[in-house]
């Protein structure tokens, strides 16, 4: 893991303390999204300070709060297109060409064993109650696996940082961290365009995903990916608001594919999600969960409407 400067560490510590302003927080969160080492550093500070919460007094919330939570977890984030039964907990396996595996044994058989680390112990809903320690160990293994997938995203760092710091791109193309400070109580930001570069490791992007926040549509432009014989690329939205990635459909073979499929998701979900492309049998995944390897992935950068003066 690369060593971080004192500035980086101080930033992480202050992030955990909570005293950074909104812009700095967003900046740290952007850095966390592109650099898993930094995310780990910040997370460690957040947990380190969180022991202080032991001292906070208990306050009972209203009963109604629970009703809303129950409704929120039951609701599959509006009504996405029916793709078959709700998949079980999805485990993101190892780095690089890693399969998105569902918990069902059928999907496990379909998943080619990666030449990297052994597949994670996947939990199933129909399992008997956990046997204490064994379950905890499996959980730990799962968490490690989950985190190693993010390493595939680390390589985004070079590209995204280049976008942030270099004038090669449009100067008004900035991550939300560097936007002009929002007005207090401003609830409706202007409709913005969002861009994600979907790529693998440090190779050139294979697809460029553009999201029109106003129209709730997205466009995928093929820039590098070679069409695969008898296979289709399928786009997924990966978010911690859902237990499993959501399909956004198969990417067509033409240069541009435009779809309205984001109207099912709220802006926060769309903004914060990771977009992943898996290689599926022709026509897309037959099961409703990704069966092929993730080949490209990326997160959105928000482009800023032309600023009044400085950026």
């Amino acid at each position: 893991m690369m060593a971080y400067s004192e500035d980086h560490i101080a930033l992480a510590a202050e992030y955990a303390l909570g005293t950074l302003d909104a812009g700095e927080r967003a900046q740290v969160q952007t850095m966390m999204a592109v650099d898993t080492g930094y995310a780990a550093l910040c997370e460690a500070w957040v947990l380190r300070l969180s022991v202080l919460n032991q001292m906070v007094g208990l306050v009972e919330p209203r009963a109604e709060v629970w009703e809303r939570i129950k409704a929120a977890i039951a609701r599959p984030a509006a009504t996405p297109p029916p793709l078959g039964a709700e998949p079980d907990i999805v485990t993101l396996d190892t780095e690089g060409a890693a399969p998105l595996a569902s918990a069902t044994s059928a999907a496990e058989e379909q998943v080619a064993a990666p030449a990297v680390e052994p597949p994670v112990a996947v939990t199933r809903r129909d399992d008997a109650m956990p046997a204490g320690n064994a379950e905890v160990i499996r959980l730990t293994a799962r968490v490690r696996q989950w985190r190693t997938v993010a390493n595939a995203m680390t390589t985004l760092a070079a590209v995204l940082l280049a976008m942030i710091s270099v004038e090669v791109y449009r100067p008004d193309l900035l991550p939300s961290a560097l936007r002009p400070r929002a007005q207090v109580a401003e609830n409706k930001p202007p409709a913005a365009q969002f861009v994600a570069l979907l790529q693998k490791d440090s190779e050139a992007p294979a697809f460029i995903l553009t999201v029109d926040a106003g129209a709730k549509s997205f466009t995928v432009r093929r820039v590098g990916a070679e069409p695969e014989q008898g296979k289709s690329y399928e786009l997924w939205l990966v978010s911690d608001k859902f237990q499993a990635p959501r399909s956004l459909g198969v990417i067509g073979s033409q240069d541009f594919t435009t779809r309205p499929g984001l109207s099912f998701y709220d802006a926060d979900t769309v903004n914060g999600a990771t977009y992943a492309v898996s290689l599926e049998p022709e026509g897309g995944s037959p099961t409703g969960v990704a069966t092929g390897p993730i080949v490209f992935s990326g997160k959105l950068i928000e482009t800023v409407p032309p600023a009044d003066s400085a950026h």
Partner: protein, 182 residues
């Protein structure tokens, strides 16, 4: 009161979609998390919203909890607090005096726990905080418990914001050194 081991067990069950376990987890932890965010947000509607979002996130990411790294409550409170801070920073500044009186939340830091009730990690951290000058201790703890911004702290300590910024950074680095993190 559930033990950490029981909470770990519940989180494991939640990660497999066990709704009954999730309800028990909620029952066991809601008052702590609500207390944490209410101190920071000082409004019932905002606190409720953050609590809802927190538990949805817990439901969806229970599989990511690593019991080797932290206790369940530490993990859950961190999620809740982080979200509360996000909200309060985005909402922008209001002076401390303008905060609605409806929330009768103590403006100062919480009462100390008996030492025997504290985890080892908490004791170690408080020892390090305790080595700061008294004013800096207050600064750090007010920032943490009340979620105050640099501007609010500057008002409280009648100091320029930039000075507060320096104090905070130095204090955190001193805590870091005291904890032996290099």
């Amino acid at each position: 009161m559930l033990t950490p081991a029981e909470l770990v067990w519940l989180i494991a069950a939640v990660s497999k979609g066990d709704e009954a376990a999730f309800e028990r987890l909620y029952a066991a932890t809601r008052a702590k998390l609500y207390g944490v965010v209410l101190r920071i947000l000082r409004r019932q509607d905002l606190a409720e919203e953050v609590i809802q979002e927190t538990y949805v996130k817990v439901w969806n990411s229970a599989g990511q909890f690593n019991p080797a790294v932290s206790s369940p409550i530490t993990w859950m409170a961190a999620i809740a607090r982080n979200r509360a801070i996000d909200v309060v920073r985005k909402r922008g500044e209001s002076s401390i005096e303008e905060e609605p009186e409806a929330m009768d939340v103590a403006a100062e830091t919480p009462d100390p726990l008996a030492r025997r009730e504290m985890s080892e990690e908490l004791k170690r951290l408080l020892e390090c905080v305790g080595r700061l000058e008294p004013d800096r201790q207050k600064l750090v703890l007010l920032a943490y418990y009340n979620g105050w911004s640099r501007e609010q702290l500057a008002t409280k300590f009648a100091t320029p914001v930039n000075t507060v910024k320096t104090w905070l950074r130095r204090s955190m680095m001193e805590i870091r050194e005291c904890l032996g993190l290099g």
